[in-house]
Symmetry: C2
Subunit: 496 residues, 2 copies
């Protein structure tokens, strides 16, 4: 059938959606979400049908076209196009097969991931895929094939034959900014460490948010590669480098139900590492009441899967399980965490020792993995790299290469509005509610207000006296400081 | 935060979607599909967030609002509204619980169905629900509770205390228009039969399409009720009566993967019957290679579930399993099927006997169910109702009440473009490919072109000679007749 293009002044993203009037859709024998082939001047496009129930916004004989398709087709208002029903993507058959409980093979998984990457599937169809793998779980083979498909459908970096080191933390612990200390240590020891990090999703700061206090992090893949080649390390926001793009789509679909399917988590992490050509990978899995893994056993199980899939995938993988029951370092929020990091690298007198210790431990394991240090000597080498100032020098090279934002860490702005949270009685800190601490920091404006957050004066085991400061809350506006006070009222952050 | 309304000239249906600029969304700490509470003049609305990646179409400080919400709020371009993050519907927790393999209770299922009915859930969230019940299957309790929730969240008809009879066919067999013969037989015997039927989804005609040749079928619930009260029977399109509205949403979500979850199918059928206050229900389950149930055993299993759920739900349910290996009657397509139906009711000399026999059999069972006829005597009573002209008289009352479209069946228009498909050799018809027959009828224009379709001259078991007519294809345009010829080329409709 022929239709006249009616341009809708809106972008909807992918897949291309076209709108037909209800009667025209019936005449074509098609329903919402069916596929249509649209042809104009010997070119053709795959589209997904939506149906207008009334004459608004699409009258009979019209085809409503959103911004992206309209631009791609070069069509004008009233341009005549040919439209025929088209078959659905074959990947839907494989999704249905997994729903029925069958295991998928490499080719079937690749087809699904390819269709996700090329944006041929609708949100509904991708949700079927995510749920099928979530409910019916993934076999180890399927995780390997999913990882492989994610890598093959994205861009890959090739730094040549050397050892390329990477790390990943499963997350959940505020202030856990070891990456920004480890990357310069590893790079200063002559290894490449092309690190992409996320912005915060549900926390007061992600590594990308924190690094952004010091340097630009929204780097495209070309710049990312040049920096790694030039200075050995880089700490970029993964969203701009866009490796393994299918993963972003899957995460978007998982968000509404806060689903964290284990197989997909493993594939997601490994695909991003494999895309940058990593050869050695350290996985840090914190465990504790507020971490993603609640118990040591859960952390062990997840670690074992990372190990076997990572190694099968050709990545020399090592897993460390770390207790995560309180924030690492003193700062929570981008600016405050960046200050912690820089104090460690600069060997400042008041550097947070717990952040330093954890970073040196992880960096040491990595240096042993690449046989730069003997077994048991990695920690010493990592410490020497920091103590000698080599790590700080390397960090400054990385910051300059990415695009420096502050002259030095003493110039980092923290929120000018602040209040102290003080103890009401004598005691010893027995526990810290990480969820509550995060909520207060977020209410204060973190992570978008870089200077907002919390500075801890006490950790677990510390003694407190009445009217002694436990932590300081920082905000960039009076309004958000009030919001943080409100959030604090509803929650017990410190147990002492 | 405060935003200025930016009106987007487009309707998107429900739930209300608002679009914020990417940076504003980050400042609010929200992500696509999160909930926002929008307030204006002491009123408030629940909305779902979408995010504009660039300044198009929603600039920082703006909130993009689609037609429905804009109209509901009475907002203008630039109206200032307050926006705060809102919690997600609690029903999402229950969906996640079912995904984890737990059985849901009555309250949890009701909450989900209520949120679907009130359009609080997004397509992605409804897909999680559909998949969870599909993969993890439903217990009999869950099917009963789903049915109950669907009924309670929709409108219900109350015809008082008498026996209200209904029937449902699981479908899949072309020409199977028994409903239009059964309804007048039952009504002529003094029982109420408030029948809602569907339009075709994947076939050349549904009962609603066929009835529409004779009378209006797009009746609202008020008119539907008045007609049933006045003449005893009615054959309306279910889409306009809109009983158990949650069901339509679930079916829409199931369409892209052609999912037909058994529990949902049963709940869907029973909810619609319970909503009109049915007391007695006959379920016809055809089985055969081209039917929904491929084998007698599959039909038995499905029938047993219908029986136990229906009876638990207070519906006196009876199931018949009928062999479905060839079209019923001679016509396929709305007008041709309507002619078949009227010929049976009018006792025409050339009425299709197979359609008559099946209709009388089903009507007979129903008359026995309501104890209008003794066991074994129902068929005789149904036949007498037709032979005496009582059924035809009742059908004419029903047609007049709904809104008559043709004076009598001799005035029904069939497509003026036609061709005969003739035999090429001697033989006996061994089988008919129902999928192929349907495809040809659809290519000819059925069901939207009412006069399009196929008239069969041969059934299984009939002898054919070279150049003898097997069937005639009707179309309303030359173009579609050519399309039907093309479709016929690719397929073997008759095996002889």
């Amino acid at each position: 059938m022929k239709f006249a293009v009616h341009k809708l002044m809106l972008a909807t993203g992918w897949p291309f959606v076209v709108i037909l009037n209800e009667n025209d859709a019936r005449a074509l024998g098609v329903h919402p979400f069916d596929r249509l082939n649209v042809r104009l001047n010997n070119r053709q496009w795959n589209t997904v049908l939506d149906v207008a129930k009334s004459g608004f916004p699409v009258k009979p004989g019209q085809m409503g076209v959103f911004e992206e398709l309209s631009n791609t087709m070069g069509s004008r208002e009233g341009t005549i196009v040919s439209v025929t029903p088209a078959p659905k993507p074959t990947s839907l058959r494989y999704i249905k097969k997994k729903m029925a409980g069958f295991q998928l093979n490499r080719k079937e998984i690749f087809e699904i991931v390819k269709d996700i990457t090329e944006r041929h599937l609708t949100d509904i169809e991708m949700t079927y895929f995510v749920t099928a793998f979530y409910i019916n779980t993934m076999t180890e083979n399927e995780i390997v094939w999913l990882t492989d498909a994610m890598v093959r459908t994205g861009r890959r970096l090739d730094f040549g034959r050397g050892k390329i080191v990477d790390k990943h933390c499963i997350g959940g612990i505020p202030g856990n900014r070891t990456t920004m200390i480890i990357v310069p240590i590893i790079a200063a020891n002559g290894f490449l460490i092309p690190k992409t990090s996320s912005r915060s999703i549900t926390s007061p700061a992600g590594t990308a948010d924190t690094m952004e206090v010091l340097a630009d992090v929204a780097l495209d893949i070309g710049k990312f590669k040049r920096i790694v080649k030039k200075v050995g390390g880089c700490i970029a926001w993964g969203g701009s480098v866009s490796l393994a793009p299918a993963d972003d789509q899957i995460i978007r679909i998982e968000h509404p139900l806060s689903i964290d399917a284990e197989g997909q988590l493993i594939a997601s992490v490994l695909a991003k590492k494999a895309s940058v050509g990593s050869t050695h990978l350290l996985i840090d899995i914190p465990y504790g009441l507020f971490a993603k893994c609640k118990t040591l056993n859960a952390a062990k199980r997840l670690g074992d899967k990372f190990l076997s899939v990572g190694n099968r995938f050709g990545l020399k993988t090592h897993v460390v399980l770390t207790e995560g029951i309180e924030p690492i370092g003193n700062g929570i929020g981008p600016a405050l965490e960046a200050i912690d990091v820089m104090k460690v690298l600069a060997n400042a007198r008041d550097a947070p020792l717990d952040l330093k210790a954890k970073s040196l431990y992880l960096a040491g394991v990595m240096l042993e993995m690449v046989v730069m240090a003997q077994k048991g000597k990695g920690f010493e080498l990592a410490r020497a790299t920091v103590d000698s100032g080599m790590a700080l020098k390397k960090m400054n090279e990385i910051i300059d290469a990415q695009g420096r934002r502050v002259k030095d860490y003493s110039k980092i702005q923290v929120g000018e509005h602040r209040f102290e949270h003080c103890a009401t009685h004598n005691g010893t800190v027995k526990g810290i509610n990480l969820n509550s601490i995060s909520s207060v920091a977020q209410a204060a404006g973190a992570p978008l207000d870089k200077g907002a957050g919390i500075l801890l004066h006490k950790h677990i085991g510390d003694k407190v006296r009445p009217r002694e400061k436990i932590f300081t809350v920082y905000a960039e506006s009076k309004f958000k400081l009030v919001a943080a006070k409100e959030a604090l009222k509803d929650s017990e952050c410190f147990d002492y």
